[in-house]
């Protein structure tokens, strides 16, 4: 592609376009609504560029396969929804521990269990953070429209390489399935991060798990000159299992710090009318569309409502939220779950008693009217 192209697509297709733009070479998956289109489209598109698509026997195998393929030096992704995301958790933790770049798409449906396969929900926010066992950190991005789905997908591949970590793309059924315009920018318009490979010569001891001064860990492809061990056990700088307390302590700190110390660099967000906002709506994904719509309507009537749209959920953008909510008469978190982000917002703002939840959990998209009703109560204007 030399010029930008305009398309009319589903959100899942925008994700595929983003992955291809970012240079995906390998996808492994298992069908599940509402993410299946991602697999279907890549089954067609990947072989056209010499890439690989494989339908595995389940989501566990899919997660394992992309980790294996990442180790041979490829850009990899898998896509799923709730039940499949649950199945991926053990291998996702392995990717955290062994520091394997990979992208995991979860197009959320209602849960728990089989839940509501064809309806919208944002119930997996905390699972994305803590779904796999043990202390760890993880990057999770989200988006409310197709242009941002595209951009966040490209970003996810870039962040996975930069921090040698799995990155979760947490979309939702509404964004995944609705159709709208997408402009695929020309090649080079968005910078791409390639695999950082070691410069250590053949025959010289290479340490796959020794961070450089800037914290990054250069990799060496399986099949290359450096043979090393990769394990999900605590390990030393050669990748060999160790339960030496200082090795264990050091590795766990490294895994958490490499992400938590870079919150600012990882944080993605958008703001609408926040400069003088008395009422701050904090939202993300398809909920943010309704929040933005309402804010525009209220502004037209002189009501000082603004929106902070989060595009990265983990690591949690604490400082940003604290700053943008400071002095607000009320903060309303708009989401389609029982308050998964709201709880975290309450924990970080100066005045938690001013934080409210506008939510919907019935499988229907939260509407501007739903948010307005709550806002009117908060403003003392009756129900």
């Amino acid at each position: 592609m030399t010029k930008s192209t305009i398309k009319f697509v589903q959100g899942n297709e925008a994700c595929v376009e983003g992955a291809l733009y970012a240079g995906i070479d390998f996808f492994a998956g298992y069908p599940i609504t509402p993410s299946t289109e991602v697999a279907e489209l890549l089954a067609a598109r990947l072989p056209q560029k010499g890439g690989k698509f494989i339908q595995m026997e389940d989501e566990i195998a899919s997660m394992c396969a992309i980790i294996g393929a990442s180790l041979t030096g490829h850009k990899v992704m898998t896509a799923t929804s709730g039940p499949g995301f649950s199945l991926k958790q053990e291998a996702l933790g392995y990717a955290c521990m062994a520091e394997i770049p990979c992208v995991v798409v979860n197009v959320q449906r209602g849960g728990p269990s089989t839940g509501n396969p064809t309806h919208v929900s944002q119930g997996d926010v905390n699972q994305a953070r803590w779904g796999t066992h043990g202390d760890h950190s993880i990057i999770t991005l989200t988006a409310s429209n197709h242009q941002d789905v595209f951009a966040m997908t490209v970003d996810a591949f870039n962040l996975a390489e930069t921090y040698r970590t799995p990155v979760i793309l947490l979309f939702d059924e509404a964004v995944g399935h609705m159709r709208e315009k997408l402009v695929v920018p020309e090649k080079g318009a968005i910078p791409l991060v390639d695999r950082l490979r070691t410069a250590v010569d053949k025959g010289v001891d290479y340490h796959p798990y020794l961070p450089r001064e800037d914290g990054r860990l250069p990799m060496s492809d399986f099949g290359g000159d450096h043979r090393y061990n990769v394990t999900g056990l605590f390990h030393d700088m050669w990748g060999f299992p160790s339960n030496n307390p200082s090795v264990v302590n050091g590795l766990l700190h490294h895994l958490v710090d490499k992400i938590e110390n870079n919150v600012q660099a990882i944080t993605r967000y958008k703001e609408y009318f926040l400069e003088d906002a008395e009422y701050v709506l904090v939202s993300y994904g398809s909920s943010a569309r309704s929040a933005i719509h309402l804010a525009k309507n209220r502004r037209a009537r002189g009501d000082r409502v603004g929106v902070l749209e989060l595009q990265s959920l983990w690591p949690f953008p604490e400082a940003l939220i604290r700053d943008r909510c400071r002095g607000a008469k009320a903060v309303v978190v708009v989401e389609m779950n029982m308050g998964q982000v709201m709880r975290h917002v309450k924990a970080v703002v100066d005045e938690p008693e001013r934080v409210f939840l506008a939510n919907r959990i019935d499988g229907q998209l939260i509407t501007p009217t739903d948010i307005k009703k709550l806002l009117r109560v908060i403003q003392g204007m009756g129900v």
């Binding site: 070479d25 390998f26 492994a28 067609a44 072989p47 056209q48 010499g50 690989k52 494989i54 595995m56 026997e57 389940d58 566990i60 195998a61 899919s62 394992c64 396969a65 992309i66 980790i67 294996g68 393929a69 990442s70 180790l71 041979t72 030096g73 490829h74 990899v76 053990e90 291998a91 392995y94 399986f222 099949g223 290359g224 000159d225 043979r227 090393y228 061990n229 990769v230 394990t231 999900g232 056990l233 060999f240 299992p241």
Partner: protein
Amino acid sequence: MSVKDYLRERYFPHMWCPGCGHGTVLNSLLRAVEALGLNKNDIVMTSGIGCSARISGYVDFHSLHTIHGRALAFATGVKFSKPELKLLVPMGDGDALAIGGNHFIHAARRNIDMTAIVMNNRIYGMTGGQFSPLSGLDKKATTAPYLTIDNNFDVVELARAAGASFVARTTTYHALEAVDLLKRAIDHKGFSVVEILSQCPTHFGRKNKEGDATNMLELYKANTAKLGSKALKENPSLIARGIFVDETRPEYCEAYEEIIQRATGGKR
């Protein structure tokens, strides 16, 4: 090259108990690799979790020690993304056929080119002696204090039915035979399975009164016979050793090259 050149001596002593059969499997495997003259950079060993799975740490190949039961799924990602690599996938019987049973039959069904080695000690060694899907009836295990009522899989029949194009069985008593079978399996294009009966004196032997490692090895000698042998004909209850399946069938990665040709209209 000598066998020692394939070891990461830095990581010895190994973690296996004295008399454990898994070290013998390692020995046979390295001799097979040496005999084939394979380049260390071309080999990836992928393993799961278990005493058996620790084998990947001791070899000087690219090594991927993963999670319980999923070694073949990881190996599929490695192989499919870089088909020029040789994949060796040693697994314990629980690893391969309890938690990993689904991946085992599907890797066989795809006939993807890799060698699965089932280090079958009929017990969960690492977790301390619970029964496995290969223990069989009337065996004692920590989770079967009144003896097992679970039937066992037959690895050979399962692999054959699932579509593996090379299937063989031997024991750690027959270490030289194991070298030969492993050589043939590694050389085979497609999904190859070698089941190696490997003694766990610490748990299976002790619980089932099979004595020490030497005794258990003697039992492998006494209770098995070569395919096509007179001994097997006269006593069909013996466990057969040898090559059960050796067929040429389309391999998965090669078949995908065909897909790429179709998708690109033959332009690649």
